[in-house]
C-alpha cells in the first residue's frame, strides 16, 4: 500500500506560524485562537463537508474550542486536539442536530446566511466531479483522507485526532483511495 505523504502541504503548514505558538503558550484571547487556527479549521471542514453550512461548522468549532480551551489536558498536541474538535463538530452537525439548529437560527433571522461567493457557495466548486466523488465517500473514510492525505498528519496524529487505532486509519485510508479511484473512473466512463 502506498504510504501517505508525511510532509504537510505548504499552505497547510500555516498553523506552525507565530500565532499558533502564541495561542498555545498560555492564557489566550478568542481572537488569538481564531487567528491561529482559522485556516486549519476552515480547510478541514471544507474537505469534510463541502460548502454547505461550512460557515456554521467553522463558527461552531471555534465556540467549542473556546469553551474547552482551558480543559485541554495535553494528552496530544494542541493542533491534533483542534482537529478532533473540528471532526466532532462536523460529525454532530451532519448528524442533523447542528444543521437543524442552523436552519432554525436562519429562520429566526438571527444569523443571516452569508454568501461568500457571488451566486452562492456552490459556485465555488470548480471541480464538480471530484467534489461529488468526495461526498460519496463514507464519512470516516473522508476524515482519514482529509487528515492524512490533505492535511499531512502522520498516521499516529490522525489516529489520535479521530480517536481510533492507527490500523483503522490505515484501512480507512486504503478504502478511501480505492473508492475515490473507482468513483472517478465511473464518472469518466459516464462522461467521456
Amino acid at each position: 500500500m502506498e504510504l501517505p505523504a508525511s510532509r504537510p502541504p505548504l499552505a497547510a503548514a500555516a498553523w506552525v506560524g507565530d500565532a499558533a505558538a502564541k495561542a498555545d503558550a498560555g492564557p489566550v484571547e478568542f481572537d488569538a485562537i481564531y487567528r491561529a487556527y482559522a485556516p486549519l479549521v476552515r480547510r478541514t471542514a471544507w474537505s469534510l463537508g463541502g460548502a454547505q453550512d461550512l460557515d456554521d461548522i467553522v463558527q461552531e468549532t471555534f465556540l467549542r474550542l473556546w469553551r474547552s480551551w482551558d480543559g485541554f489536558r495535553g494528552e496530544s498536541q494542541r493542533r491534533t486536539w483542534v482537529y478532533t474538535v473540528t471532526l466532532n463538530t462536523a460529525r454532530s452537525h451532519w448528524r442533523g442536530r447542528g444543521r437543524l439548529k442552523a436552519a432554525f437560527k436562519r429562520f429566526l433571522m438571527l444569523v443571516p446566511r452569508t454568501e461568500a461567493v457571488a451566486g452562492g457557495q456552490d459556485a465555488w466548486e470548480l471541480d464538480a466531479g471530484l467534489a461529488r466523488a468526495l461526498r460519496r465517500l463514507d464519512a470516516r473514510q473522508r476524515e482519514a483522507l482529509t487528515l492524512v492525505h490533505l492535511e499531512g498528519l502522520s498516521l499516529a496524529e490522525a489516529a489520535a485526532a479521530m480517536g481510533v487505532p492507527e490500523g483503522t486509519v490505515k484501512s480507512r485510508l486504503f478504502q478511501a483511495r480505492s473508492r475515490m479511484q473507482a468513483l472517478l473512473q465511473e464518472a469518466d466512463h459516464g462522461n467521456p
Binding site: A12, Q59, A116, W124
Partner: protein, 114 residues
C-alpha cells in the same frame, strides 16, 4: 477528468476553501457575548436548573398535597373501620374478623353515641 491526478486536484481544492465571510470574527464575538463570558456558562446552567426546579415544584406540589390528603383520608377510614369493629364487637359479642364492615359510620357513630 484524468483519474491519476485526483490526489493533486484534491489537494488544490482542499487548500482553496471558500473565503470566510466578511465579519466572521465579529459574528462569533456576538455569539460569545461580552468578554468574560466563560463565567456565564455556569451562571446560565445554574439559572436554568433553578428555573426547571421551580417549574417541577409548581407542577408537583399540588399533586403531592392531593396525595397526602388522600392518604390522610385512607388513614382516617382505617381508624374509623377499626373503631366500628371494636364497638360493634363489644355490643354483639362476636369476633372482630366475623363482623361486617360499614366504613364511614364507625367513629361518628361512636361519637354520636357518646
Amino acid at each position: 477528468m484524468e483519474t491519476h491526478d485526483w490526489k493533486e486536484r484534491l489537494k488544490e481544492r482542499h487548500l482553496a476553501p471558500p473565503p470566510a465571510p466578511v465579519g466572521e470574527l465579529q459574528a462569533m464575538h456576538g455569539r460569545l457575548g461580552r468578554p468574560g463570558n466563560r463565567l456565564m456558562g455556569p451562571v446560565w446552567t445554574f439559572g436554568g436548573a433553578l428555573a426547571l426546579a421551580g417549574l417541577a415544584a409548581i407542577l408537583w406540589l399540588p399533586g403531592l398535597r392531593a396525595d397526602r390528603a388522600a392518604q390522610s383520608d385512607r388513614e382516617f377510614a382505617a381508624v374509623d373501620r377499626w373503631v366500628y369493629q371494636q364497638w360493634n364487637g363489644v355490643q354483639s359479642g362476636t369476633k372482630a374478623e366475623d363482623r361486617a364492615e360499614e366504613p364511614g359510620s364507625g367513629l361518628l357513630a361512636v361519637l354520636d353515641a357518646d
